[in-house]
């Protein structure tokens, strides 16, 4: 009995600890768990879509619900699954890779997470309040501005709140990488994952404000009667399309770049070789980031921007294949002649290279503006972007999770189950999406609720649906592996993979201050250098001393919760003015928390030298 109470108190204390934490490693856990949950929801939506399309004239779900499914599947997977899981990886790894004790803004880091979570929750509440958004994840006007009900309003407010969180997270990582690198960690010695996180954060910084503005305009049009997209009052819908894609195209590079970095680290670790063409890889990353901002109109070739604009954007789009090709070849050359160990992480990585290359090929096909008139809005496009997003981002997430799981949770994921999860997912992925290219070329439009018999689309769709079930099976085996590992596997050593970078020089899981003494970095792959010279660990850059740490705080949670309440107020004030009370209460909570944060000094605390010596290694 008393034991149960003590356990309960233990649980409550643990929840409170996570609600107030500013520790980047715990925030990584929060991002991973909530991102993973949204990934499952988005996956469930995908399964429902595939079941609906399994056979001709199907009515598994109604046409209206189908529109909600495709909208929420896309929105959830991009904003609420892929982004947060990438932030989970960045939080877990970047500070460790650069030898930092913390991120630059621990408080803002926590705020970024809670904003994302409450934005995502707000968006998903729409399922229970009379209909989710149904204008596609691109939310084009006038389909969105004239959509009845409140679905689109949830889309606008949910994404606005979680987008603010992402922007904050991006700035945090930029400053962390600029200011917090350990002595000797020059820019050109940073591991590739850190480099790509840096470029991704830059893209977030410049891309998300365009989305913010687009969402504000959409909000004003739907809730306050402005006329931005209302043609009858002189508005222009193309403004939304441009704003959305000025954000939206960099967004896909935001998603893939960090995983390019993870693949680079994984390939070099498991090939036991230093990365081939390190500086070319860095250069290619920067170039992809730069070009990523000049290609957005390739999503709009059929809008009628004119042949000159289409040609410019077609050429710049094709140009992106060059730096991406550089990367593909560098990965292959890194493996060439290496002593390769096919761990689960490496398996996902090796599978990524051909899968992503196929997506890149169809990308160049789509980039030809003239040919795109044929492909536009067909399943060819659906096949293409799933090849790059699943074959690139999702494979990358699985690879990176296998690779860094010991650092995040202290245990190595079971390798056998890792292989077991990989094969059904990999086979299912190609079954699902390869055939979709041909369905598209045969004329099947995307986003359609159903198709008729005798259009020769039935077989292809059946194959695609079967593949989706294989992918679901793979995901389930991965989840089983997570549980199995937590219960059965022994604790991992500090360096289970014979790693090359700094994160493997400290215990798994690291102590909350990460590095007892700040490490001294003497070159690329610092841990490998020390190993080659016969040393056990990294040379410290400073004598043992007091460590400064930030205080935890509940304020980020409250600020985000305030915006969550205000979001409801904004959505429903159209129906009744009394909902402005919710706006006032929510904004009051948010602004009050901000004022508290501003006025109350928060200097953090110090861990004393003596305590560090007593505690020894690896204890939390």
């Amino acid at each position: 009995m008393s034991n149960a109470i003590a356990q309960q108190r233990g649980l409550a204390a643990a929840i409170w600890d996570y609600m107030t934490t500013v520790d980047h490693k715990k925030i990584a856990h929060l991002y991973l768990v909530s991102g993973g949950l949204f990934f499952l929801i988005g996956g469930l939506e995908a399964m429902i879509i595939r079941i609906q399309l399994m056979k001709p004239d199907n009515d598994f779900i109604s046409a209206g619900l189908y529109n909600e499914m495709i909208t929420m599947h896309g929105t959830t997977m991009i904003f609420l699954a892929a982004m947060p899981i990438i932030f989970a990886l960045m939080n877990a790894v970047v500070p460790l890779q650069i030898g930092a004790r913390d991120v630059a803004f621990p408080f803002l880091n926590s705020l970024g997470f809670w904003l994302f979570l409450f934005g995502g929750l707000l968006l998903n509440v729409s399922w229970f309040t009379g209909g989710a958004p149904d204008a596609g994840w691109t939310n084009y006007a006038p389909l969105s501005t004239t959509s009845p009900g409140h679905g689109i309003d949830y889309y606008v407010m949910g994404l606005q709140i979680s987008g603010a969180g992402t922007l904050i997270g991006g700035i945090n990582f930029l400053v962390t990488i600029i200011n917090m690198r350990a002595p000797g960690m020059t820019y050109m010695r940073m591991p590739l994952f850190t480099w790509t996180s840096f470029i991704t954060s830059t893209l977030i910084l410049f891309a998300f404000p365009a989305l913010t503005v687009g969402l504000f305009l959409m909000m004003f049009d739907r809730m306050f009667g402005s006329a931005f997209f209302d043609v009858t009052a002189g508005g222009n819908e193309i403004i939304w399309e441009h704003l959305f894609w000025i954000f939206g195209h960099p967004e896909v590079y935001i998603l893939i770049l960090p995983l390019f970095g993870a693949f680079s680290d994984i390939i070099s670790t498991f090939s036991k070789k230093r990365l081939f063409g390190y500086s070319a890889m860095v250069f290619a990353t920067v170039l992809i980031g730069f070009l990523g901002f000049m290609v957005w109109a390739h999503h709009m070739f059929t809008v009628g921007l004119g042949p000159i604009a289409n040609s410019i954007f077609a050429v710049s789009t094709m140009a992106i294949a060059v730096p991406t090709g550089i990367k593909i070849f560098n990965w292959l050359f890194t493996m060439w002649g290496g002593s390769i160990k096919m761990s689960a992480a490496m398996l996902w990585t090796v599978a990524f290279i051909p899968s992503f290359t196929i997506g890149g090929m169809t990308g160049v096909m789509l980039a030809s503006a003239a040919a795109d008139y044929q492909y536009h809005d067909t399943y060819f496009v659906v096949g293409h972007f799933h090849y790059v997003i699943v074959g690139g981002v999702v494979f990358g997430i699985f690879a990176a999770l296998h690779y860094w799981w010991p650092k995040m949770f202290g245990k190595v994921l079971n390798e056998k189950l890792g292989h077991w999860a990989f094969w059904p997912f990999f086979i299912g992925f190609h079954l699902t999406f390869f055939i979709q290219h041909f369905l598209g070329l045969m004329g099947m439009p995307r986003r359609y609720w159903t198709y008729f018999e005798g259009q020769s689309l039935a077989t292809g769709n059946m194959i695609s649906t079967v593949g989706a079930f294989f992918m679901a099976l793979g995901t389930l085996i991965f989840l089983y592996n997570v549980v199995y590992t937590a219960i059965k596997e022994p604790r991992a050593s500090a360096d289970p993979w014979d790693g090359r970078t700094l994160e493997w020089s400290i215990p798994s899981t690291p102590p909350f201050y990460n590095f007892k003494q700040t490490p001294l970095v003497r070159g690329l792959d610092p841990l490998w250098i020390e190993k080659m010279e016969g040393r056990k660990g990294i040379t410290p850059a400073e004598p043992l001393g007091d460590i400064h740490m930030p205080n935890g705080s509940i304020l980020p949670f409250l600020m985000s919760f305030g915006l969550f309440i205000a979001g409801f107020g904004f959505i429903y004030q159209v129906d009744h003015n009394a909902w402005f009370i919710a706006v006032a209460v929510g904004m009051g909570l948010t602004l009050g928390s901000m004022l508290t944060r501003s006025l109350k000094d928060d200097l953090g605390y110090h861990i004393h030298k003596e305590d560090l010596i007593e505690k020894g290694e690896g204890k939390e």
Partner: protein, 108 residues
Amino acid sequence: MEENTSSASRHKIDVHKKEHKEEMIHQVISFILMILFTFIAFGMVVLEISSYFVKPVLILLAVIQVVFQLYYFMHMKNKGHFMPAMMMYGGLTVAFFTIITFTTIIWW
């Protein structure tokens, strides 16, 4: 000994004060120029000079004003501003493409 260090640090403070003063002079000069540009800009519009001439000149004057504001008032010319400058130029690049887009390829 103590006297020595305190006089040394006093000297350092004086040097800094002098530097600050010099910077201040630059800032006041740039302020005067900014005011002057504003007068010219408003004056040209009030006097209704040919719009083919006025439009580019107005934009040019605005850009110069902003350069003064960034480099002198916000100290971007000083040391330790490499990353801030990079990020401002990054933002300005995206801003430039955005404006060009919205003035050319939006159907009208």
